[in-house]
């Protein structure tokens, strides 16, 4: 059975801190790993990673995939209160997605 585990489950930091969110997986026929941000309702897409060791970057957010060790990290530098959200990791394999339980990030002013 496909499995995605995220850690930590929740995290409270202050503005300006840097955070690292973790995602490990066991998936049959891996195709891609995706990160989403969920604020109020619908998750929104952040990154898709398919190749090991290549960093994807968007502003203060970056992510990298290690296909040998079966994990990914999402880094957020200089956090802002607007970064407060649930961050979801999902892995695509064998035609379907498996989501982790998410990391709830709270950024305090």
């Amino acid at each position: 059975e496909d499995k995605v585990v995220q850690s930590p489950l929740s995290l409270v930091v202050h503005e300006g801190d840097t955070v690292t969110l973790n995602c490990s997986y066991e998936v049959t026929n891996f195709r891609s790993l995706l990160w989403y941000k969920q604020e109020k309702k619908a998750p929104t897409f952040l990154f898709m990673l398919t190749s090991s060791g290549i960093e994807k970057k968007s502003g203060r957010l970056s992510s990298i995939l290690d296909k040998k060790e079966l994990f990914s990290i999402l880094n957020i530098t200089a956090t802002q209160t607007g970064d407060s959200a649930i961050y979801l990791c999902a892995v695509e394999g064998a035609g379907k997605s498996t989501f982790g339980d998410g990391t709830t990030l709270t950024v305090k002013p």
């Binding site: 995605v4 309702k41 998750p43 897409f45 979801l88 999902a90 695509e92 379907k96 339980d101 998410g102």
Partner: protein, 113 residues
């Protein structure tokens, strides 16, 4: 551009009543379509996915069913709701072929009383 619609936004239904949630996608053809349920504080549980009209794969045995009567329409149904069916239901689409990001609708908050 592509748009995904999902309704209703909230729903309160008594135990034993039927359910019908609808999702439609605009601006794309032959999308993969998905239904997820999210319990409080948890990730997304895949319920059903579809790669084409009339093609439905079920991931979790339950009293829910899904149908895809048209290319860009996906319906989640139940004949008799259970208390455990309460949750946040999300519809999503992706480009066909697999391995691509998914785009989510606004969700339906279902409370079964």
């Amino acid at each position: 551009s592509q748009t995904i619609h999902q309704w209703p936004a909230t729903l309160v239904q008594p135990v034993g009543s039927p359910l019908s949630l609808e999702c439609t996608v605009e601006g794309t053809s032959n999308p993969n379509l998905y239904w997820y349920r999210q319990a409080a504080g948890r990730g997304l549980q895949l319920l059903f996915y579809s790669v084409g009209i009339g093609q439905i794969s079920s991931e979790v045995p339950q009293n829910l069913s899904a149908s895809r009567p048209q290319d860009r329409q996906f319906i989640l149904s139940s004949k008799k709701l259970l208390l455990s069916d309460s949750g946040f239901y999300l519809c999503a689409w992706s480009v066909s072929g697999g391995g691509y990001e998914q785009y989510f609708g606004p969700g339906t908050r279902l409370t079964v009383t």
